[in-house]
C-alpha cells in the first residue's frame, strides 16, 4: 500500500531550520575552541589549569544552586497549596504564575534595578526605618540572586504544581484514615510521589541559571562574575574567541551531563508509574 508523504518529511523544515541557526554556529564555536589561535587543545588546557576559571565556574554553580534551593523552598509550599486547594485564591495564584511568563525577563530585570536602586522603595524603606546609610543592594550578588529567583520561580512552581495536582486526593485521605498524621501522610506519600517533579524543577532552574547572562550582568557585582559574563568579557574586551568558545563548550558539556542525569532520573520515574 502506498502512503502519502513519509512522516519524517514533516520534521524536515524544523530540523533544517535548527541545523542552520543552531547547529552551524555551535559547530563553529566548537571549531574555534580548538583552532583559535592555533589548532590544538591549549584553550581547554588553560581553562582546566587556570584557577581563575575554576573559581568562576565554582561561583556559577554555587549561585545556580542557591537560586535552585531558594526556588524550591519558596515554590514547593506554594505549588502544594495550589494543588490541594481548589478555589479563587489557588486559581489566582496559578494565573499569577502563568502571567510571569508573559513579561519578558529583561523587563523584570530592569524593574529590579529600579526597586533595588538608590532611589528605589527598598532604600526608602530602610531610610524610613532609620537604617543609615541604607544597605547597598544593586550591583551585588544578593541582587542577582533575588532577581534570578524571581524570574525562575514560576518554572519551579508550575513544574511542581502539575505533578502535585495529579496526586489523587484519596491517597492522602487513605493515609490519614489509616493512622498517618498530616506530617506522615506528607512525608510518606505526597513527598515521594512529587520527587520526580522536584528533580525536574531543580534541574530546569539550575540549567537555566548556569547560563544566565542578562540578569547577573545588569544586577550583579562585576567582581562576582558568573561564567556567562566571563565569556562575554573574553569576547568583548579581550577578543579571545578561542578561550570564550572553549569556556562555552565546557559549560555546554556540563549542562549535557546534567541533562543525562535528568534523563536517568525521569527514567526511574517512568518505572514508578
Amino acid at each position: 500500500m502506498r502512503r502519502g508523504v513519509p512522516t519524517w518529511l514533516l520534521l524536515l523544515p524544523a530540523v533544517a531550520y535548527l541545523l542552520l541557526v543552531f547547529g552551524v554556529p555551535l559547530g563553529n564555536t566548537f571549531w574555534m575552541s580548538i583552532s583559535e589561535p592555533t589548532l590544538g587543545l591549549q584553550n581547554f588546557a588553560s581553562i582546566l589549569t587556570d584557577p581563575l576559571y575554576a573559581r568562576v565556574y565554582l561561583r556559577t554553580v554555587l549561585v545556580a544552586a542557591t537560586v535552585t534551593l531558594l526556588c524550591l523552598g519558596l515554590g514547593y509550599p506554594l505549588a502544594h497549596y495550589m494543588a490541594r486547594r481548589s478555589g479563587v485564591v489557588a486559581a489566582l495564584l496559578l494565573g499569577a504564575c502563568g502571567l510571569c511568563f508573559w513579561i519578558s525577563y529583561l523587563v523584570r530585570t530592569y524593574a529590579w534595578t529600579v526597586i533595588l536602586g538608590n532611589r528605589g522603595p527598598v532604600t526608602a524603606l530602610a531610610r524610613w526605618l532609620g537604617v543609615e546609610p541604607p544597605p547597598v543592594l544593586l550591583f551585588t550578588t544578593t541582587a542577582s540572586l533575588i532577581a534570578m529567583t524571581h524570574i525562575l520561580l514560576p518554572y519551579m512552581v508550575l513544574t511542581l504544581y502539575v505533578v502535585l495536582a495529579r496526586i489523587d486526593a484519596n491517597l492522602i485521605r487513605a493515609a490519614h484514615g489509616m493512622g498517618a498524621s498530616h506530617w506522615q501522610s506528607f512525608s510518606r506519600v505526597v513527598l515521594p510521589l512529587s520527587l520526580p517533579a522536584v528533580v525536574s524543577g531543580c534541574l530546569l532552574v539550575f540549567i537555566f541559571c548556569v547560563g544566565f547572562y542578562v540578569t547577573p550582568t545588569l544586577l550583579g557585582s562585576p567582581r562576582d562574575m558568573m561564567i556567562s559574563s566571563l565569556i562575554a568579557n573574553e569576547i568583548e574586551t579581550l577578543l579571545d574567541f578561542g578561550s570564550a568558545s572553549a569556556l562555552a563548550m565546557v559549560l555546554l558539556a556540563a549542562v549535557l551531563v546534567l541533562l543525562t542525569v535528568y534523563d536517568r532520573l525521569v527514567g526511574i520515574d517512568r518505572i514508578l508509574r
Binding site: G177, L272, R273
Partner: protein, 352 residues
Amino acid sequence: MTHLHLRQVSKRFGAVQAVIDATLEVQAGEFVSLLGPSGSGKTTTLMMIAGFEEPSTGSIELAGRQVHHVPPNRRDIGMVFQNYALFPHLSIAANIAFPLKVRGRSRAETEAAVQGALALVGLQEMAARRPAQLSGGQQQRVALARALVYQPKLLLLDEPLSALDKNLREQMQIELRRIHRQVGITTLYVTHDQSEAMTLSDRIVVFNRGRIEQVGAPLEVYARPASRFAASFIGDSNILDGVVGTAANQLRLPDGTLLHAARPLLPNPGGGASLLVRPEDMHLGPPPSGADALTLQVLSVLNMGPHLLLIGQHGGRELRIRAPVSATALASEGSTVTAWWLPEKAWPIPPP
C-alpha cells in the same frame, strides 16, 4: 452490643442537606450495607463515620467513645476506597505495612502482620510487586488487606466493587463474606447496587434524599418495604395505587377492581393507598379462590433464560410478571391474560 451508634446525625453543605437526622445502631461483628442512589447521603454518612467530614449536628459513638470530633487518624477505622487508593510508589507489602509503620510498630511485628494479611487475601506471591502490576481484583484485595492489617475497630467499604466486571464482582462478594466471617470485624458497606447489598449484608440501611428510610434484614426489606422508595429501589416491583375500600385492607383501583392486602393499608388523609406485589408473586392462568386478579394486556414477553418476564398493562399502569418458561403457551404479545396473586403477597405501602 452496640458497637457504632449514630444519633441524629445531619450534614449540611451550604444550602444542601446531604444527610438528615440519621440514627443507626450497628452491633459488633455485623455486616451492614448503606444502600441508595447517588446523592442519597450514604457516602456522606460513611465519610462522617471515617472522620473526613464532620457532622453539622448529632453525634457518632464508636466502641463506647464519642468520635465525631476526633481526626480520622485517631479513630482506628479501616477504609477501602472506590478506586482502592493504593500508594503507587510502594510495593504491595509496603502498602500493607503502611498503617503499621505510621503506628511505629516493630519490624518483626509488622512483617508478621503483613504476611498474615497477604495470606488472608491470597496474595503472598505478589508482595514485591507494585500496585500497577496487579489486576483490579487483586488491587481490591490489597486495599482490603491494608485496611484490616492493623485490626481496626471498624471496616468501611466505599463501593469497592463498582470498578470490577460482573464475574469478578460476584467472586469478590463471596470473598468479602468469607473474610468477614473469618475476621469478624464490624463492617459498613456503601453501595448503590441492591443485589450486592442483598447478597452481602446482615442488615440493609436504605438511604433516600439524605434520610434513612428503612433498616432491616435483606429479605425483610425486600418483602416488607417501609416506603415507596424502598419498594421500588430494591428488586422489581408492581405498585398499584387506588383508594381504601370498605375494609381497612381493601384497595379499590380507579376502574373499580377490589384488591386485598396482607395487613391494613396505609392511607393518606384523602383515602389514597397503595399495594406492592413482586413480579415473582404474580401468576398466570385461572385464579384460585381467595386470590386477587387483574386482566392484563400483554405488551411484551422477554425470555430471560431461566424464566420469562412478561410486561403487561392494566388501566394504563405497567405491570411485570416473572413466570416459568412453560407459561409461553398462555401469553403472547398483544393477547389478554389474567394475572393473580394471593392477598398475603400484597404488601401495603404509602400512597404517592
